[in-house]
């Protein structure tokens, strides 16, 4: 019984003051979206399904940045550093260990842990040095740019870990995909239907988990810190520890993205930590609406799809459009385009209801 009440008390945190969407209507919509996403592979061809997994891969990093920036108020420009660290760690581990006995899953966990440890070390120096918003952004950006340069010059044969060559700017390839050990033959998660469902389940779990996290005591404290760090400190919270915790969780999600991406394409390059790569998560999260998980999720998906469409039809202008989108968002809809659209629509809705006398 105690366990049951514990579980229900966690489940009530799925909705709360820090997240948009509550009540029967929202969860009905949620179920509808999940059902549509689950049914999608039945109607689409293999390439599109694999391509959708590619979009899903990035959303983890976006949700992590949403937690750090939107909820925590610390602007990190260098999430791609953790993406790259985890991606390379996964590559090195799986090339050395092989893909038997579920070792790739172990490599996934280990790679995410490595990125979390790196985030903890960097975060310790930043947050315990009480680095404010602006400096935090440029130090994290510097870290990812230097990581890119470091990996780029590892082309020579002397740069290897075990049997895994780092390969410099050519990028590291030929690592095995994620593989689930299964009686009757292991299931290799190629970018296809099986990987689609695995990633979708992971995405739903992370999304719901983050909803619980931000509505819990921890989430309320980090929002309090965002609103006013001094007040939070006067109330007795160690601001530095909460900021560090947020940073580690968010960066681990960037690491998870890195592992999934590396396993998805069996390939990772140093460019994934470069200037362009580092700017894209900022665009996704800012355009979607950084202060809410749901708007970030949909915003990221929309921008990713739009970006890919642009790259296909007018390749070189895609980045210009992304830059313009970022500037416009900041100027016109600082809370995010998706978030603004949602609040506008809900305002209309309530006004309409009030006019027709449904609301007492």
């Amino acid at each position: 019984m105690a366990l049951l009440s514990r579980i229900t008390s966690i489940l009530t945190l799925l909705e709360g003051p820090q997240t948009l969407g509550r009540g029967r209507r929202f969860w009905a919509g949620f179920a509808l979206v999940v059902a549509a996403a689950s049914a999608y592979p039945l109607f689409a061809d293999g390439y599109d399904v694999g391509n959708n997994v590619y979009f899903f891969n990035w959303i983890f990093m976006a949700l992590g940045l949403c937690l750090i920036w939107g909820y925590g108020g610390s602007l990190s420009f260098g999430q791609t550093a953790f993406f790259g660290i985890a991606g390379y760690a996964y590559g090195v581990l799986t090339i050395n260990l092989g893909d038997a006995y579920g070792l790739t899953l172990l490599a996934l966990v280990a790679a995410v842990l490595i990125s979390a440890v790196c985030a903890a070390i960097l975060g310790y120096f930043l947050f315990f040095g009480r680095i404010s918003g602006v400096f935090l952004g440029i130090v994290t950006l510097s870290v990812t740019l230097v990581m890119e340069r470091f990996i780029s010059q590892t082309a020579g044969p002397e740069w290897h870990i075990g049997t895994a060559r780092l390969n410099g700017f050519n990028g590291m390839g030929a690592m095995p995909s994620l593989t689930i050990p299964w009686p009757g033959g292991p299931i290799v998660l190629f970018p296809d239907v099986a990987l689609y469902y695995a990633t979708l389940v992971l995405l739903i779990l992370v999304y719901l988990g983050l909803r619980v996290l931000v509505n819990s005591r921890f989430g309320n404290v980090i929002v309090a810190i965002r609103e006013n760090p001094q007040r939070a400190e006067m109330l007795g919270y160690d601001v530095r520890k909460y900021q560090l915790g947020t940073f580690i969780i968010g960066s681990s999600l960037a690491g998870l993205s890195g592992v999934l991406y590396t396993s998805w394409g069996n390939y990772i390059t140093p460019a994934s930590m470069g200037m362009t790569a580092a700017s894209l998560p900022i665009v996704w999260v800012a355009v979607g609406g950084r202060s809410d998980l749901t708007t970030t999720l949909f915003g990221t998906l929309l921008v990713l799809i739009g970006f890919q469409a642009l790259t296909i039809y007018g390749s070189q202008y895609a980045l210009v459009v992304m830059g313009a989108l970022l500037v416009l968002t900041v100027l016109v809809a600082p809370r995010g385009i998706v978030a603004s659209a949602v609040s506008l629509a809900s305002k209309r809705w309530t006004r309409k209801k009030a006019q027709s006398g449904e609301v007492s």
């Binding site: 602007l75 420009f77 960097l122 120096f125 930043l126 315990f128 040095g129 009480r130 680095i131 918003g133 602006v134 400096f135 952004g137 440029i138 130090v139 950006l141 510097s142 870290v143 740019l145 230097v146 340069r149 470091f150 010059q153 470069g274 200037m275 362009t276 700017s279 900022i282 665009v283 800012a286 070189q316 202008y317 980045l319 210009v320 992304m322 830059g323 313009a324 989108l325 970022l326 500037v327 900041v330 100027l331 600082p334």
Partner: protein, 290 residues
């Protein structure tokens, strides 16, 4: 004699690193000191200065004039962007950074589309001289001189001109300055332009020594960021000493382990320094004084 030669070599390398750090960071530091904002399009103003001055040299303009032109164009574009975009974001410093990053993306990719993936350089002028067994570029010595001259000029501007006095008043207490009749909007605009012009100057000065590609700005920004973070908000008490210290660190690590070690070492130094001196060198010096 050998000791003398290697001492000269080390001093030359430190001076070279110092000049690079000062020139690439001072534009960033001017804007940061003024508005508490980091201009992430800084690298693209450097790019602008480099491209404009190189094109001008190709058209036959003498190098000093071409560099001045590059700085001027970058400054004008800076003022224009301040009017159009940055002005609306003063109350939201973090959003300003994000917006300048958007500008940076547009500028880098736009340059690639319009001008192609590379531009022909002009080659380093002035030739070289020998000390011991090594030859040194005269132009690098000129750059060191220019770094010192830039610092001196900035000091004169901020302490001896009317603009400097008004700018410092605006930095200290903006609304009081405004109440006393200072056109703070204009001051902000001019300061942003000055920062952009300094970036353009760095671009123009280093253009003859570099490969000109649309992403060349990112070769400067890590160093510039690091110098400003260590230095803090004041150019003379912060950026200059930070550049001197980092220059020596970078030169030592570079001659020991190569260029990459110099950069990584600098970054690690920064991460450790901010743990000890969160407000940078200038914050530390000013606290000591008070």
């Amino acid at each position: 004699m050998d000791v003398l030669y290697s001492t000269f070599s080390f001093l030359y390398q430190s001076g070279d690193a110092f000049a690079f750090l000062v020139l690439s960071a001072c534009g960033l530091a001017v804007i940061f000191g003024m508005m508490g904002v980091i201009n992430l399009a800084h690298g693209e103003f450097i790019l602008c200065g480099a491209y404009v001055s190189t094109s001008a040299t190709h058209m036959g303009l003498p190098l000093p004039l071409a560099i001045a032109l590059g700085a001027g164009v970058a400054g004008l574009i800076g003022m224009l962007l301040e009017r159009l975009i940055v002005r609306h974001l003063y109350l939201r410093p973090l959003d300003t950074i994000v917006a300048t990053w958007g500008i940076s993306m547009i500028a880098t990719q736009g340059t690639l589309i319009v001008l192609g993936s590379t531009m022909q350089g002009t080659g380093t002028p002035f030739g070289s001289f020998m000390v011991g067994n090594y030859s040194y570029s005269v132009y690098r010595i000129v750059l060191m001189g220019m770094a010192l001259a830039t610092l001196a000029a900035l000091w004169l501007v901020f302490t001896r001109t009317r603009f400097g006095v008004l700018a410092r008043a605006t930095i200290q207490v903006p609304h009081i300055a405004q109440a006393l009749g200072v056109n703070t909007g204009l001051i902000y605009s001019l300061t942003f332009g000055l920062g952009a012009a300094l970036a353009g100057l760095a671009g123009g000065l280093y253009a003859p020594t570099m490969t000109l590609v649309p992403t060349m700005g990112s070769a400067f920004i890590v160093e510039a960021f690091v110098t400003v973070v260590i230095g803090g908000a004041d150019i003379f008490l912060g950026t200059a000493p930070a550049a001197a210290i980092l220059g020596v660190v970078k030169a030592a690590l570079t001659s020991w382990q190569g260029q990459l070690a110099g950069q990584i070492g600098m970054l690690l130094a920064v991460i450790i320094v901010i743990r000890i001196l969160p407000r940078g060198i200038s914050g530390w010096i000013l606290k000591e004084r008070a």
